[in-house]
């Protein structure tokens, strides 16, 4: 990306910027905490998140079990830590796939013939008019719940927004003079798109995609909570919440422990994302 300077200059600028923006700084700290848990969580976890210990079931929080144990005696703290990797992996992975597909479709829609543009727009708008959770539930009814299905659902939900953004940006620069110049020099459409248009439209896409991370993580946890996402025994935060909900009267610590990481992650990424957006591209404030 040409717009964002790399190296120590970028980091120093970021530091200066965040010093004047306490919320952005808080976001950065929370995101770093979450990333730390995702990377080192498995080695930090005091217990195996999947290990059953039925004799120790429903232990309330104590120094041996920081967040207590669940209905099967599994250590909730270890499960929450392990869930970080699932949340970030599924969220980051599916956004990356949606970005690539959205980018391609958007370029094609913006630069291609009018009929193709209209057809793609209609497709985007139709997919977009499914409420996200409804779309997820429909697909999950037909396909067996698995991580692959969940990623597919999130990609389908996210792609139209990215395509539309890229399409609009492509439309607005495809008639500009420098594009006309390269075309008259004989550049082929793929070259025009990839070398001359892509670098100019991709910046805002990254900012918007990074701001979608919280909602995608929430969607993963939400669908899993409804029993339609990641199948057990994987300790997704949504699964912890779902299993904890069944015993909310006897063991409220399970749902409390399952919800806190979701709140920390969504708040952290949102605060940091807003700070980065205001800094890198203030014009986007109107879009989002």
């Amino acid at each position: 990306m040409s717009e964002i300077p790399a190296g120590p200059g970028f980091l120093r600028l970021l530091g200066q910027r965040l010093r004047n923006d306490p919320l952005g700084l808080l976001g950065l700290v929370l995101v770093l905490l979450v990333l730390f848990c995702a990377v080192f969580g498995p080695s930090l976890a005091p217990y195996n998140p999947l290990k059953l210990a039925v004799l120790d079931r429903f232990q309330s929080p104590s120094w041996t079990h920081l967040f207590g144990t669940d209905n099967l005696g599994r250590d909730v703290f270890s499960r929450v830590l392990a869930g970080t990797r699932i949340a970030l992996g599924v969220g980051g992975g599916s956004i990356a796939i949606a970005l690539s597909i959205g980018l391609m479709l958007g370029l094609v829609a913006g630069y291609g013939p009018r009929w193709l543009d209209n057809a793609l727009l209609l497709l985007f708008d139709s997919v977009y008019s499914f409420p996200t959770v409804m779309l997820g539930l429909t697909v999950m009814t037909l396909l067996n719940p698995s991580i692959g299905t969940l990623v597919f659902v999130i990609v389908v939900i996210q792609t139209p927004a990215y395509s539309r953004l890229i399409r609009t940006a492509t439309l607005s620069i495809k008639t500009s003079e420098y594009i006309l110049a390269v075309r008259s020099l004989g550049a082929s459409p793929p070259r025009v798109l990839l070398v001359h248009i892509l670098p100019n439209v991709i910046g805002p896409l990254f900012i918007i995609a990074s701001m979608d991370i919280p909602s995608v993580i929430a969607l993963e946890a939400g669908l899993t909570y409804l029993g339609m996402g990641i199948p057990p025994p994987a300790p997704s935060w949504g699964r912890i919440l779902q299993e904890g909900f069944d015993s909310i009267r006897d063991a409220p610590w399970i749902v409390i422990a399952g919800g806190i990481p979701l709140i920390i992650t969504t708040l952290g990424f949102t605060f940091l994302g807003e700070a980065l957006r205001d800094w890198l591209d203030p014009r986007l404030r109107r879009v989002i």
Partner: protein, 314 residues
């Protein structure tokens, strides 16, 4: 104006039609045959044959699609696989509950969010403005189902102030309101911040316009300027936003209904999805798509009708 209205409604119908194609294709594109999918692999051949015939799967795919479109056009969304009841009837039984929930959520969100945004814009950089900005970002990003679970735990289980499950007794209006408080709180919370942000931004924009300066020059009172001249225009973007919000609200309602065991479209879809009752899922999801697709032109027309500046361009 009429042409514009027809265009917008036509587009909405086209979107509904494409969505129907997608919903229909979903069942046929996926690997494996639909009957096994719905009944599971342990079904007897007689059950399979019966379902195959009932659902029309023994017909060629284009015929099936034509029949599907024809039925939906007549308002028939199909038949529940297990109870043999009409899906349209089931959806219509559940829809009012969801609309009440969404309406209550939007209502309290607008009652709190719009004044908050308006005040933030007038008293810029006051502590209320700053606090609103932080709370807005916070409430927008926290998932509504976490809010719902925490609210249920705190106010219903621990403090016992509100009922835990259900929608209340059918005849008892007060009881129904009582059951509505926590779910609508959870669904609406994110929208308070969102509305406050949008109203603040558009209010700041409007307050800088010429007609406000003219009103000031005429010596009108600040209250009259704010409420009569500025807010009326600043509120317009929220109308479009509320239509867009219906999709998000329906998604939040799925969680609120399941967590609080409230009857409604969201609970209907999840329960049907758990039993792989595809006709019910299909019919109910199609209804939500239609709601969303038709809300957009209605909002556009409402804005055009409310805003004299837009009205005059027709």
């Amino acid at each position: 104006m009429l042409i514009y209205a027809l265009q917008r409604i036509g587009l909405a119908l086209l979107i509904c039609l494409t969505s129907m194609c997608l919903l229909f294709a979903a069942l046929h594109v996926i690997p494996g045959d639909p009957v096994t999918l719905m009944l599971g692999s342990r079904a007897t051949p007689e059950m399979r044959a019966r379902l195959q015939h009932e659902m029309g799967f023994d017909q060629p795919v284009p015929v099936q699609f034509a029949r599907f479109l024809g039925r939906v056009a007549e308002g028939d969304l199909g038949t529940d696989m297990w109870t043999q009841r009409g899906v349209t009837t089931i959806v219509l039984e559940n829809l009012p509950n969801t609309l009440v929930l969404i309406g209550a959520a939007l209502g309290w969100a607008a009652l709190v969010g719009i004044p908050l945004g308006c005040y933030s814009a007038i008293r810029r950089n006051s502590w209320i403005d700053r606090l609103t900005a932080i709370l807005a970002v916070g409430t927008i990003s926290i998932p509504s189902f976490v809010v719902a679970i925490y609210a249920l735990l705190l106010f219903a289980v621990e403090l016992n102030w509100f009922p835990v499950i259900g929608a209340g007794d059918a005849g008892d209006f007060g009881d129904q309101i009582w059951h509505l408080v926590l779910p609508s709180f959870a669904v609406g919370l994110g929208w308070v911040g969102y509305l406050a942000r949008i109203v603040r931004a558009s209010m700041l924009e409007v307050m800088g316009e010429h007609h406000i300066r003219t009103a000031r020059a005429f010596g009108l009172g600040e209250a009259k300027i704010v409420f009569h001249y500025a807010l009326r225009i600043a509120i317009l973007p929220t109308v479009t936003l509320l239509a867009l919000a219906i999709g998000g609200l329906l998604s939040s309602a799925v969680f609120a209904e399941n967590i609080f065991a409230r009857p409604g479209i969201g609970k209907l879809i999840v329960d049907a999805a758990n039993f792989r009752n595809f006709p019910v899922v299909q019919g109910a999801v199609l209804t939500t798509v239609a709601l969303f697709a038709l809300a957009m032109p209605i909002a556009d027309l409402l804005v055009a009708w409310l805003d004299p500046r837009v009205r005059s361009t027709f």
